[in-house]
Amino acid sequence: MPEETNDKNTIRPVGENVIVPIKAEELVGKAIEMKKDGLRLSQAHCSWVNNQYEVSYSFANDETLAYTTLRICVGRTAELSSISEIYPYAAFYENEMEELFGLKIRFKDLDYHNKLYRIKVKAPFLPEDQRDVSTDTAQEKTGAADAPAGQKEDAN
Amino acid sequence: MSRVMKFAPVILKNLFSKPVTRRYPDVPIKYPEGDRGHVEIQIDKCISCGMCVRSCPTGTLSVDRMKGTWTIDRFDCVQCGYCVLKCPVKCLSIVPGYQEPEREKASQTYQKSPEVLKAEAEKRAKQAALAKEMAAKKAAALKAKKEAEAAAAAGKAAESAPAAAKN
């Protein structure tokens, strides 16, 4: 099976997109480089494949239409640093990652504390055996955290 | 001052012309050909393979092979047309005409006609009989083979050691 996520050490092109694997500590440094080059943060997402998180931050160049993605593979209990001090609107994507997948990200400037989508189940996109409540941050602060109406259950 | 009330001519024209809308449901609606309204089935051609059930994104179809039925929940169907593409005998089609509003959700079941059911049951019985015959033939062949092997072994033993005869 090609492209095993564990040992992707090479920069490789995917269509016109270039995926650059980096380590979790290098994320903030690389983000500053991207900002200096004038790239725009296009999207950020994570997925749970092969028993680890694959986090992708994609940057777009509006003049040359080039597309670069930084790929970080971390384990279940890892904690990433937010890049929202450099790109202020990255906080939205990071809140979504935290809520849907339980990936811990610290130092977000706009933190919704798992209330962005207000889903009943914690980390609904992870498989059932990985959803351990005790290792996730942002526990329900008080009992009144449940909204009275309109709480959406995951469509899974 | 000529920049204000620029829309007035259009409004006056609309005031004195016919309405664009149709007085539905008094005036019947004309759907274009090829419109995706609802799914129809020619039930007697259906072979109850279940391809449509597996292909439905909403899970609204179900078939029963023994009873010869095909059930669709009309209010869950999203008229995508994927079942029509996947049917191997092309008994499904998507035709114009939207689902009318009702008070309750209901599903619709299509039942194969008795002649077709009888023909299917006969075919099944014939196939079962054929399978049984083949199985019996196979068992008999296997038994004969075993006896032949035993006889060959006995013959060999008798050749090599005149004193030791099998059984």
């Binding site: 996109f125 959406k152 | 664009v20």
Partner: protein, 360 residues
């Protein structure tokens, strides 16, 4: 030093087409800050990807949103074709462009109606939607559906446009263009419209770049970025220039979208002229997707990104859809800073919000 108060806006509001909640920090009728709150229409559609066969999942992705439906289907199909290296036949590429541009026209005409309604110009709302009905009739004739087309498949398209339909479309487009030109000229020249829209919600080029705006929102501030310049599908053969304005206020955004309607009509005409008369509608392929791919297309609202990852099974492992309004929400919060309280509905509508895409 005025008194600050927090006013909740939405999720129910007469101008909003879809529910979104904003907490507006207001100081004496001026908005100081806006904090968005979404989650009213979250259905977790990305989580259905591991449960549905990848060809069946196309129908789920198409139904994420009613207006942007063709664009979502197109991006999904492109991402799967990218993974599996399926080459789409030429005729199918032209057909996809034609349907995509007509979907863009319906989306912009609908947006024009909403914006006019936001500051009370209801007559234009009905006029714009009346024109839109004619385009929807053309879509129903060719694809079978008014909003959700279900005419795509991995490797091509399912239906063809016959020469009679083609002639009818071109004739109708001439009339539609004439009516739209009259209507939008009236709209843009009107005194009250100009007073309401000029100078409101200015987003400079640097701000638009810093905040990550995309689509007509960025093009109205001078950033000439349009995903159609990448040349996906048949756009490379048709010759395309993005519509850009330099002013950056709400009036410029209206102008950009209105001019895009005319650009779309022109693209449809060119596509019909260049489309081959005979050709395959789809390429056959075998197997399951194994790999990953990012597809980027230009939706009516901006740049949409489709990411698919599969490992040889009939279902995808991960599907990610980043819609343009998710990126433009931050641009909205930036334009709201310093705006008058009465301009808030207009500013929300100039980003062309499609909240059901945002939350999937």
């Amino acid at each position: 030093m005025g008194k600050r108060s927090v006013i909740p806006f939405g999720p129910q509001h007469p101008v909003l087409p879809e529910p979104i909640h904003l907490d507006l920090v207001v100081e004496d009728e001026r908005v100081v800050e806006a904090i968005p709150n979404i989650g009213f229409i979250h259905r977790g559609l990305e989580g259905l990807a591991p449960d549905r066969d990848f060809q069946k999942y196309l129908y789920v992705v198409e139904r994420t949103c009613g207006i942007c439906s063709f664009g979502h289907g197109l991006g999904y199909v492109e991402s799967i074709e990218g993974i599996m290296n399926v080459e789409v036949p030429e005729k199918a590429r032209y057909l996809r462009v034609i349907w995509a541009e007509m979907a863009r026209m319906t989306s912009h005409l609908m947006w024009l109606g909403f914006t006019a309604d936001a500051f009370g110009f209801e007559s234009l709302f009905y006029q714009a939607w009346r024109i839109r009905e004619r385009v929807l009739d053309l879509m129903e004739m060719t694809t079978g559906g008014r909003l959700i087309y279900s005419v795509l498949k991995v490797g091509g398209v399912l239906r063809d446009i016959s020469p009679e339909m083609q002639k009818k479309i071109l004739d109708d487009l001439n009339e539609i263009e004439k009516e739209t030109r009259d209507m939008t000229k009236t709209f843009l020249d009107d005194y009250s419209v100009q007073t309401r829209l000029k100078g409101v919600g200015v987003l400079t080029k640097q701000q638009a770049h810093d905040v990550g705006a995309c689509g007509p929102m960025a093009r109205a501030s001078g950033i000439a970025c349009d995903m159609r310049m990448r040349g996906y599908e048949a756009y490379a053969d048709l010759g395309f220039e993005p519509v850009v304005s330099q002013d950056g206020d709400s009036y410029a955004r209206c102008e950009v979208r209105i001019n895009e309607i005319f650009a779309s009509i022109e693209l449809v005409r060119r596509a019909f002229a260049k489309m081959p008369k005979e050709g395959d509608l789809a390429t056959a392929f075998k197997g399951n997707p194994n790999g990953e791919y990012f597809a980027r297309i230009e939706q009516p609202r901006g740049e949409a990104i489709f990411y698919s990852e599969g490992h040889g099974k009939p279902t995808l492992d991960r599907f990610r859809l980043r819609t343009p309004t998710f990126a433009n929400l931050q641009a909205l919060c930036e334009t709201l800073k310093g705006a008058e309280y009465a301009d808030v509905p207009i500013l929300i509508l100039t980003i062309d919000p499609c909240i059901s895409c945002t939350e999937r």
